[in-house]
Assembly symmetry: C2
Homo-oligomer: 235 residues x 2
């Protein structure tokens, strides 16, 4: 039963050497961090069942058993990934939403959409950390019906999503709730497909449309969705 000790996790590194200067050229990632970083990239690129632990540990230059040691299991690795990445996104979403709501009792639709979409598309896009890997990963898991991944997704984002639906209803007082919910669903679809950056629309348009261009994507997506949300509810 070594598992019990493994769950203890990590202890904070405890720097034995005092760093005289911050920001060294090589941040000297720990084993844990290296695994997370590589796994994020590879899960995003090939899907959960498309990558083996050996591929991850080899690329991360880490022992195979390290994953079991630090994360318990492959699923545990995915959970840790989400625990690290999803929280900042949900948090930033709610911060921006609060900004919208405190400005006026009837918030502006476009601002709400922006508050929801922008963090999802931009946060975690740090070139030094493998770029938009988590964005892609999220889009990929969104279409997987496996119950384990669904639980992770739902735990990470359900609460903030509910708050956004409520905010959208405030912004569209005449709209029946189910109608708002359907439209929220379509918005999720447009968002995830943009995040997935599948290359299909590039191919269809000779590269004119590039979902990886986040600024432009938001610039086109928000007015499009806003018009959809504002259209008359269907009978």
């Amino acid at each position: 039963m070594r598992k019990a000790s493994a769950l203890k996790v990590a202890s904070v590194k405890a720097p034995p050497v005092k760093r005289p200067r911050a920001v060294p050229a090589q941040p000297a990632l720990s084993v844990r961090e290296r695994i997370l970083e590589v796994a994020e990239r590879m899960f995003a690129e090939h899907g959960m069942s498309g990558v083996g632990l050996r591929a991850i540990t080899t690329e991360a230059k880490v022992n195979l058993a390290s994953i079991a040691y630090h994360f318990g299991s492959k699923d545990g690795l995915l959970e840790a990934l989400f625990a690290q990445r999803a929280a900042p996104i949900a948090q930033e979403r709610l911060r921006l939403l609060a900004e919208c709501l405190e400005k006026s009792a009837k918030p502006k639709l476009e601002d709400i959409l922006d508050a929801f979409l922008r963090p999802a598309l931009t946060l975690g896009v740090q070139p030094q950390f493998g770029g938009p890997a988590f964005v892609k990963l999220r889009a990929r898991l969104a279409t997987e019906p496996e119950t384990t991944t669904r639980k992770i997704l739902s735990k990470a984002f359900d609460q903030s999503s509910r708050q956004f639906i409520d905010a959208l209803i405030k912004a569209l007082p005449q709209m029946p709730r189910p109608e708002v919910e359907w439209r929220f669903h379509f918005m999720l679809g447009a968002m995830f497909y943009t995040m997935a950056d599948s290359g299909r629309i590039q191919a269809l348009t000779n590269g004119r449309v590039d979902p990886g261009d986040v600024k432009r994507a938001l610039h086109h997506m928000i007015p499009f969705l806003a018009a959809g949300f504002r259209s008359a509810p269907v009978v």
Copy 2:
């Protein structure tokens, strides 16, 4: 090499019962058809790399090597699946589109959207064959960046997609082409996410919104998207 002894017959079972009746209640699927049917369902549910050939052949009650024999490889099986399923969808799309175009030189936006979305969501939804398996499978593959699957997708649907973009431009003469292309991309997202039926929006709405209800989904989706398409182009 192979021990020539020990092979013994088996020939067990051998039901020589001649079927006296044509077209029995069970169409008596061929091996090929049984594999396709089961593979479609299982690929949709667990993804390409999530199902093994043994799982498929066991469920289809078929020999393991049959897949290699009939389809060459696992990828060949996927290609055969698309060759069988995608063509009718693309064909029906173009038929409906032609109907729109011959009615008037400036076709109605809603009709074009309907012509694009309805076949994707409804064709192949045969409850006796495991329901909307191909619909789900397509949504799943749409977010996979693997080049092999992308080629299959693109071969099956690119041509008809281009024609729809052109038709949309006809319906929206004042709209710049890139804007139409962006909006087409968002439409694809809403469509695929509805097809994936990931369960997320059901969870968020206590089941009020069910993307699996195709009639209702189209009923909400088309006006939503039409309003988005008609909104003023962004600068």
